[in-house]
């Protein structure tokens, strides 16, 4: 008798507590009230850049609305990686950045951080080294982040653990910037966004002049009539995975007027195993190989000698005429950010030595 009564009590308690957990999750989903009003105001004006902002910022609006960023007196409004309109207050005091590539851009925009993730050996942002380490890019520690009492956290949208943290950060009234940083356009947009938030228009001007203009110059100078074909590969021991035009390096060579032989295929993603037969038939003019290795010279030598030893690879024009290039990881695997001009210039030198000089 006693056991069955006890059981009934336990079941009743469980059932009641389940009702309360339901209430809890509902509250989580609502953003703090402060986020919403600016969005409603600016949405209608986004389409008409010329009629915007009576404070004499018309020119700036035209430039920035190209990236969908609107700079107001107190805050900046933009569209984040999820397509949401987000408003961020200018001049945040305590910033945590969870991705080293974005940290580099934030630093270049004149931003300070109180928290960062573990640095990777190739990308050290000097000014940020004194900040607290809150974990790794793959596993940032929420408790540590919260303990720093940040007012802004910048995350990378391609990183799932970071994305999953967003509701918890928002719940704690912390502003979150969720960004993609995969292509050149993303970099331009990010530097515009960050300099707007830090209020450093001077640094933005620097960036436009030193970086964006330089890249445009290189692209403009690249001959458009040579009709070159290339393949971009990732070097592993076992398989040929290729990069099409929807990847960072793929976009770079496309900008330089080189066709990518792996573009003819429908499927997306940048780790697709590709047939060597197809490469042999297409006989691309250039072969670019990305590598994770640190000693570029040693790897290049080894890859080239492997290519020469293998009769199938050795029959390719690109291998025979020494147009087989190994791309260093700091410029072509990691995001080059402010070194985009260098990245483009190197490729241009490889592809059009007659115009840009040899590599």
């Amino acid at each position: 008798m006693k056991k069955s009564i006890l059981l009934k009590i336990i079941l009743t308690v469980l059932a009641v507590s389940m009702i309360f957990t339901g209430c809890g999750t509902e509250a989580n989903n609502q953003l703090p009230a402060g986020e919403n009003p600016p969005v409603a105001e600016n949405q209608s004006t986004e389409e008409t850049p010329s009629g915007e902002g009576a404070e004499g910022e018309n020119e700036k609006e035209e430039v920035t609305s190209a990236y969908g960023i609107i700079i107001n007196e107190e805050d900046v409004v933009f569209t984040d990686a999820t397509g949401e309109e987000v408003s961020i207050k200018k001049n945040p005091q305590r910033v945590v950045v969870l991705q080293n590539s974005l940290l580099e851009i934030w630093d270049q925009a004149g931003g300070q951080v109180v928290g960062r993730v573990e640095e990777s050996e190739d990308k050290i942002v000097e000014n940020a080294m004194s900040a607290e380490v809150v974990g790794t890019m793959a596993a940032p520690n929420l408790e540590k982040i919260l303990s720093l009492e940040p007012d802004l956290v910048i995350i990378s949208s391609s990183n799932r653990p970071q994305r999953e943290m967003i509701p918890l950060l928002v719940q704690n009234n912390i502003q979150v910037i969720n960004l993609y940083n995969d292509f050149l356009e993303d970099y331009y947009r990010t530097i515009r966004l960050f300099t707007a938030i830090t209020g450093r228009e001077d640094l933005y001007e620097d960036n436009v002049n030193n970086i964006q203009k330089k890249v445009d110059e290189i692209i403009a100078e690249a001959p458009a009539d040579k009709g070159y074909k290339a393949v971009i590969m990732y070097a592993t021991a076992n398989s040929i995975t290729v990069r099409d035009s929807n990847t960072m390096v793929g976009e770079m060579i496309k900008d330089l007027n080189v066709a990518n032989i792996s573009d003819s295929v429908e499927a997306g993603g940048d780790t697709r195993v590709f047939s060597l037969e197809k490469i042999l038939i297409e006989d691309p003019d250039f072969i670019f190989v990305q590598t994770m290795g640190t000693d570029l010279e040693a790897i290049t030598e080894r890859l080239k000698s492997e290519a020469f030893d293998n009769p199938a690879w050795a029959s390719l024009t690109a291998v025979k005429e020494d147009r087989y290039f190994v791309l260093p990881k700091d410029l072509y695997l990691y995001k080059p950010n402010d070194r985009y001009p260098e990245a483009y210039e190197n490729l241009a030198k490889m592809i059009y030595p007659e115009v840009f000089g040899g590599y």
Partner: protein, 334 residues
């Protein structure tokens, strides 16, 4: 009467073996004839006979031929390895994974490719060494005045678990470098060249010869430890020999194509369902069924979504598993 039945059994098995050999040879030619680029049979013959430096010649001689040979040898090695282990362990679920081949090879390859990416060319050697080392480790862990098969299997499971955790640890600490090793973890034949044939051929041939010489010992071992000892067999020594041969065969295969599953476990069973459990027929038959399965599936993997290639492991599981289930339902042995 009994004599006649035995003769009939032998003839039947020989016929089945011949059919397997024909399938294997057919697979060989189909594989050479098909790929991402359409080459007609006439052009194939031209390429082989004339041996001129045309693209077709390159594709046939230096891409398809080494790939087909390697696929064939890999299939043979893995299937033989699984077949031997199933006999030695007297367990139908035995496969090269149980003796730590996959986990040992996988961990060593991950270490080389991720922690020391400059030495990526050492990955195949690392895989082979990792496989054999894991097997020896498991064997000695399970040793207690001899190795009981249950202890061996349990030690294998524990070590595989440990090495698997090592794999996951590396993936956790180097997440941005992982995409480069996915190809190995899934297993595939996509950049096979004559160099790989050189790597696997000696082990495959040595393994095949050894196994065919001692296949009758495996029959005796199947009768149980006591009976086998009573019949004069050195049980521990024989078991150790078979396990090492099995590890060597599987290690060679894994080092060349990565962690290819399915073949080691299921192909011996498919063969057994057709030809029975007499190892004097089963082992030779497995050589050809293993080869046929991998060669056919690799051809499909190359051709289905050309010029993209699907990992051959996916094709094998997708086609092989239903086929095996069908056989399981039809035949009465299990």
């Amino acid at each position: 009467m009994a004599d006649n039945m035995e003769k009939k059994g032998k003839i039947q098995k020989s016929v089945i073996l011949t059919i397997f050999i024909c399938l294997s040879v057919a697979g060989f030619f189909i594989s050479i004839g098909n790929g991402a680029v359409k080459i007609s049979p006439r052009e194939i013959i031209d390429a082989i006979v004339l041996q001129e430096e045309t693209v077709n010649y390159q594709i046939i001689w230096n891409v398809r031929l080494p790939r087909t040979i390697t696929a064939s040898l890999v299939g043979t090695c893995l299937a033989l390895s699984g077949c031997i282990l199933q006999g030695v362990m007297r367990n139908p679920l035995a496969s090269p994974n149980i003796i730590g081949v996959s986990s040992g090879a996988g961990l060593m390859t991950l270490i080389v490719l991720i922690v020391f990416p400059d030495y990526y060319y050492l990955a195949p050697i690392g895989a082979f060494v990792g496989a054999i080392t894991a097997t020896l480790f498991i064997y000695f862990l399970a040793w207690r005045e001899g190795v009981a098969t249950t202890r061996l299997i349990l030690a294998g499971v524990a070590i595989s678990s440990l090495l698997g955790a090592g794999n996951n640890a590396i993936i956790t600490f180097y997440p941005d470098k992982v995409s480069g090793v996915i190809g190995f973890m899934v297993g595939g034949l996509s950049s096979i060249s004559w160099k790989h044939v050189d790597m696997i051929l000696p082990y495959a041939i040595a393994g095949m010869i050894l196994i065919l010489l001692v296949s009758d010992k495996l029959n005796i071992l199947m009768l149980g430890d006591e009976v086998a000892t009573g019949l004069g067999l050195n049980v521990e020594g024989t078991r150790f020999l078979f396990i090492i041969i099995s590890s060597m065969l599987a290690g060679a295969a894994v080092s060349v194509v990565g962690l290819l599953g399915f073949v080691g476990l299921i192909v011996p069973h498919i063969t057994r369902l057709f030809i029975g459990s007499d190892y004097r027929y089963l082992l030779p038959a497995t050589i050809f069924t293993g080869s046929a399965v991998v060669v056919f599936c690799d051809t499909l993997a190359r051709v289905m979504f050309a010029p993209l290639e699907i990992p051959v492991g996916i094709i094998m599981s997708a086609l092989g598993a239903p086929f095996f289930l069908y056989l399981l339902r039809r035949k009465k042995e299990y």
